[in-house]
Amino acid sequence: MDFPENLPSSDTGRLEQIVSHFFPKALHIVLNSRIPSLQSRGRTRERFSGLNVRKSDKWFNLVMGDRPAALEKLHSWHRNVLDSMIIDIILVHPISSNNNLDDDDDDHGNSIVRSAETVIERWVVQYENPLIMSPQSSDSSTRYQKVYKKSIILLRSLYSQTRLLPAYRVSRQLSSSLASSGYDLIYKVSSFSDIFSGPVTETMKEFRFAPVEVPPGRLSASVTYRSDLSDFNLGVHITLPPRIITDYVGSPATDPMRFFPSPGKSVEGTSFPVRAGRPPLTGSSAERPHSWTSGFHRPPAQFATPNQSFSPAHSHQFSPGLHDFHWSRTDAFGDNHQLSPPFSPSCSPSTPRYISGSNSPQINVRPGTAPVTIPSSATFNRYVSSNFSEPSRNPLPPFSPKSTRRSPSSQDSFPGIALYKSSRSGESPSGLMNQYPAQKLSKDSKYDSGRFSGLLSSSGSPRFGFSRSPSRLSSQDDLDDPDCSCPFDFDDVDESGLQYSQSLDRRKTSSSISQSLPIGRKSQDAAVGVLVHMLKTAPPLRQDSSTYMASMSGIQREGSVSVSVSGTESEYSMAQKHIRCTRGAEKLQAAQRLTSRQIQEWIWSNSCPLSQTKE
């Protein structure tokens, strides 16, 4: 029999060692199977040779991997083997408060969901030292070997049992889904425990492992567990299986001219949890003003693989239920315990499952929309919704090309996607974003940027991402475009300006546009970017003067643009009407009705300084 350590000289000493090592081993087995953060990592499945195993891990011939530091501390705490070791596995779960809405609402009028803790398992390991010692049947030389063998069997069965009980599935679900949506498993180790109340014991079953005689006492283990965990509605909120969002709405990046529905649609599932005990963000967005940024509500399915590079700790599949990042809810930003949309989209390693290589196949292009080239969905992955600021501030999608340029100050802004893996019980291996909950709110100027930069993606790789996530998320830009920069940066604008000038020359407009563009307002530049793209892909002219491109006006935060209009007066006045009357998504709607050629016309006419507008 291989004892992991040098044998004490006396048989009693050996038996004592068995007992003293039994406790930490049992603790390790239980917590390893229950608490995701305490699971041994980095265990490879190469041929196990047993040569590189620590001595302490060899006890009971069950190699578990290195013990987390938390367990080591616990081990040192439990010094007296006569103390029982009671391990409570506690499920933290949200409880909805339907009554007393006034009390439960926070400042923003959103209901607070409280969390509760329920013991779902209790493991008790103890060394019982009966007063009457059992007669020693076998001689001492082989006694410890038999005792050791039996304790090995006991621990084997304990190990198997941990996999069979319901809490194991919960633990697996939580560890694989980063969004615990208010659920978490924590533990408590003590020598004494509260007795379970009557009603609780009715729902709990007990399993007693057969004790092992270890003279002068005996080692015993038992587990009391809840056999039915359906009350906690775990299946609904956790492990939503990855699914393809068939009614994907699309995003400005993929279809700039497309109308995006109002954010009234609720997205099921949960957002990222920041801390245990917090509920998922719901999909209500009634307070959201209409804006075409609402398209960002549904991007996640389309995010491409590059997102994965974002988080090193992200080795698990995301539940797609996370993808409700309703950035319209300002509480998401102000509230520490709700992960805001900025986190969501690119945090989704599961997304590759259904996006990989797809060219946004699920985007519904409405008939009659402008025939623009839809960039591949892979280009959208940069457009993290982290740029969503409080909608109240910027109801309209401004193009702020300047701010999309990565300024040093924006580097320290909201770092982007947070993978929050709630774990109160031990170390949190993944770097978590809940520490950055509200930083970005104050940096509104940076928020303006790039929110709709998706719109401006050129046919190639997008030239800019949301500046909200400058350093982290934008690193994903490197995947496609190492020197991703805003096309409306001065350098880039010149290029686009040149394109303008070339096409404009054909129309005998001033080539000064290339100079005028950078000088113009942010909105103008942004508008130009969209149009540049469309120009590149524009079909031949059509004489359809029914509508004008109102989206350009939508882009302009303040209506007046120092541009001029050429073309027919009637056409222009119609356009002006559109511009004045429409807002946000409505503008998009109008824009959809325009052909790209009409847009070109409008741009040229508006850009030409020669002919003046008539109001």
């Binding site: 041929r47 190699v63 082989t142 070997q145 063998k149 090995i152 069997i153 069979l164 057969a210």
Partner: protein, 215 residues
């Protein structure tokens, strides 16, 4: 040394479920009898929401997979039968070498896995003929899913049964030899003859009572 016998609860399985069910049960048993230094391996079943533990030894895995394959082949030739798979642990006792070497196997534990393999297509056809109704695909899938749920519960019960048994009976387990990871075992499946079941039973009785050379 007496031979402890454990009869596991009978499971109704469809042919495609045999592999997973058998792997789960056999590995679980061996895990509790692999008392040498091992690194356990958690395996999730694909058909059921059950995780079982393997001892991680490749030889064990190979041996089990081979036997399962043989069993499945046998099932294909003998469909719709109740069958039994026996997992036996033995000790090797070599007698004094004489003019022939006799290796004795002393069985100290036997596990009987009882399976009732159903052929779903035939049963469905039988039903439809009997009732003169076209089998509604919805009904069939509902039936299948409820049967699957029942099987999952039964499989869990079998695993609990194993844990209980290994807990309660420890005295008969031989001492662990140095360097030995798991106790030698063999898996017996029904043989090809029609009277295999009965013959197997007799064989086992002989083996457990009288150690003798096995094929």
């Amino acid at each position: 040394m007496n031979c402890e016998v454990c009869q596991l609860k009978e499971l109704e399985v469809e042919p495609f479920e045999i592999c997973e069910v058998l792997r789960c049960i056999l590995h679980t048993i061996v895990f509790h009898r692999a008392l040498g230094l091992i690194r356990p391996k958690d395996i999730d079943l694909e058909l059921f929401e059950i995780t079982y533990v393997q001892c991680g030894e490749i030889e064990v895995e190979k041996k089990i997979d081979e036997k399962i394959e043989q069993f499945i082949n046998w099932i294909e030739k003998h469909p719709n039968k109740k069958s039994q798979i026996c997992l036996s642990f033995y000790e090797v006792k070599s007698k004094q070498p004489s003019w022939f070497t006799k290796i004795e196997r002393l069985y100290w534990e036997q596990w009987y896995i009882n399976l009732n393999v159903l052929q779903p297509t035939k049963s469905l056809i039988g039903k439809s003929h009997h009732s003169k109704l076209v089998m509604d695909p919805g009904e069939a899938s509902e039936e299948r899913s409820s049967r699957r749920t029942l099987l999952e519960q039964s499989l869990q019960e079998v695993l609990f049964q194993i844990i209980k048994f290994v807990n309660e009976k420890k005295d008969h387990v031989p001492p662990i030899n140095d360097g030995v990871i798991y106790y030698p075992f063999e898996i017996t499946i029904p043989s090809s003859s029609d009277s295999a079941f009965g013959m197997d039973m007799i064989k086992r009785m002989l083996h457990s009572g009288h150690p003798s050379m096995l094929n």
